[in-house]
Symmetry: C2
Subunit: 139 residues, 2 copies
Amino acid sequence: MDIKAQLELFVERCKEKKLKITPQRIAVYEVLLRSKEHPTVEEIYNQIKEKYPYVSMATVYRTVEILENIGLVKRVCYWGNSTRYDANLEEHHHFICIKCGSIRDVSFNGNINIPREIDGYTINSVAVNMYGICPSCKN
Amino acid sequence: MDIKAQLELFVERCKEKKLKITPQRIAVYEVLLRSKEHPTVEEIYNQIKEKYPYVSMATVYRTVEILENIGLVKRVCYWGNSTRYDANLEEHHHFICIKCGSIRDVSFNGNINIPREIDGYTINSVAVNMYGICPSCKN
DNA sequence: TTCCGTGCAAAAATTTTGCATCATC
DNA sequence: GATGATGCAAAATTTTTGCACGGAA
């Protein structure tokens, strides 16, 4: 799905939930859509500030929470303390470099063999995090 | 490995690294060894306070960091903002309830089919997090 | 005795909230 | 025009740090 289509989906979801479509919300979502780095709130804020200097940190916090609630971004945890956000909704997993902290999306060709139910636990989604050393840290 | 053996391993690692063995460090590690809940720093602190009221939060923060550095606990991220710690070093994965936030260890019978190397990335460890609804939240 | 580790308190960093104003619908 | 969103600043929360003292080696 391209960015335009994603933004249209966002508009649609907002209308469904009676959420207003504001420039701030679009800006936050667009940063997330264009980024492959799974940015923290602070990183999102810094990127937005270049274009829209008036946007406040509080709004970014509020917006990522909304985006998470309406299912357009996922909160992801990797390494360190920072909460990060990811707008890539397609099934994918992550490689995290334990040296430099960089994150890279990984898709498997072969599926992971994980049951949909364990001991009465219903599994909605699976996140596989692989930790190791990335090529540029090998040297 | 039982708790006694784990504590001996801890003592050994400390000697290797010229770290002093203090009651506080043992207390923190013991809480982590006995807990299956993957506690946060605050939860560790509260448990220790019952036995050793003088221990400070700062020490707990410093100790979990040391334990992580010497490879005796893992920092795990699941849901929400809290950083949690896990002293179970055996290969296992986690189920996280997206309603109540509870965490449960999961071991697979069948292995997950994950390569040891992807595009020049060397994979040291894999963490599979399954998100869903636990039995007590189904009602 | 020598250091390293600790407690305490202060500082720093991160996240949330209340409220008046503003913008979207 | 009504309602909900925003910015700002303050508050709450979480984590880190400096320093003098105390305890482990």
